[in-house]
Amino acid sequence: VLRPVTQRTHETTPLLDRVRWPAGFVFECHGAIIGVRSSSRSVLGALRRVLPPDARISSARPIDSHYSIVVRHDRARPNEPLYVAYERRRRIGAGRDVDAVVATLEGAVHLAVALHARTMLFVHAGVVGWRGGAIVIPGRTHTGKSSLVAALLRAGATYYSDEYALFDGAGRVHAFPKSLGIRDAGGTSRPVSPVSFGATTGDVPLPLHTVIATSYTARASWRPVAMSGGETVLALFDNTVAAQRRPADAIRTLSIAVTGARALRGVRGDAARIAERILDRCSEPSL
């Protein structure tokens, strides 16, 4: 179980300078160069799970950021090592469940890629493909993106992402097809393959067809209103990871992307009840 985020997790430590790093790699993903390393070879296999879609091992330098897992053994619990994860020198999590620590590291690594990517603009959003266009659902964590994406997949859409929409310079949407993170009743996110929803994964960049700005509210009725192009740009910009780092690129890319697209906003209730209505609406020709 990961240590909850506390003041202590933000401490830096000089101990990292004395650690040896027998396992590690550098990868490139959409122009971001990220290093990952561990103090023990035993976790190298687990570390590879942090690689995002489209990543490739690289010798490029300099790196934009690096991540580490230190494996500590103590006498009291010799068979249960403690795994401590760092972003650069900042401790971001710790625990004796290596999978849980790697999951924390994975989220941080993907966020670093989203921030440092040079060839794509990363917008925090769920994405499905439908009839040659992308349906993008921007929103923060806990707004119900993944459950709506899953419902749209069950209704026949193609899977693109439940974490980030990737926009290229022409405004087309690319896939970021890691497993969906579906929360159980206790709120714990579990990776689920899109195949389990009967969906295929798209690999062709799509023009933006529809933006759905929504969040889950119990028993809410879906009565969306149309958003203008300007409102749509702001809705996407509000979820753009590099909004402060690359604002000009972001505004330009999103302005191109929304041209010809439509957008709806409104609260929703049960995702399964509105998925087919959304797809029906998205079956109408683009603007």
């Binding site: 966020l111 923060r140 300007g230 809705a235 972001a250």
Partner: protein
């Protein structure tokens, strides 16, 4: 109210990223780290705030470009919204003599003008990376930042 010809407001241009989306204008302000969406009427007023056009001339331009029977109160209201968003060189909001949205609505309703012509400036703060990828930060129920400027949307 200020005499219609007593002022020639000027829009800020330095430190801004400006994009057109249809007849709306998207502006990112490097100084305030805010993004703004100006609707058609606000865009027309802002684009023509060149320090030479008087307020009554701006009203003429709005009338010509939109076909709406606009008077100076619409321009004053637009200047108030633009000033709140820090998109004007001078603080025009004081000069606007407190024209409220209700004032503009009442005058436009009396003139039979559609409310969609009311100037609107929607503003959000650029999110930090952590905000954009998490549940932190003030959000409305559509997962957006709460606007920090005088947002005014059509009813």
């Amino acid at each position: 109210m200020l005499h219609p010809d007593a002022s020639a407001p000027k829009s800020r241009q330095v430190g801004l990223v400006i994009e057109q989306v249809g007849d709306e204008t998207i502006v990112y302000d490097h100084k305030t780290k805010q993004a703004h969406s100006l609707n058609r009427t606000a865009s027309i007023v802002w684009r023509n705030c060149d320090g030479h056009h008087s307020i009554s001339q701006l009203a003429d331009i709005v009338r010509a470009d939109t076909g709406v029977d606009a008077d100076v109160s619409i321009v004053h209201y637009a200047l108030d919204r633009l000033s709140s968003a820090q998109l004007l060189e001078d603080d025009a909001s004081e000069k606007a003599d407190g024209v409220t949205r209700r004032d503009v609505l009442r005058r436009m309703a009396a003139a039979g003008v559609a409310t969609i012509a009311i100037p609107a400036v929607l503003s959000i703060a650029a999110p930090t990376p952590a905000m954009a990828a998490s549940g932190s930060g003030g959000q409305n129920n559509q997962g957006q930042n709460k606007n920090t400027q005088g947002q005014n949307q059509n009813p």
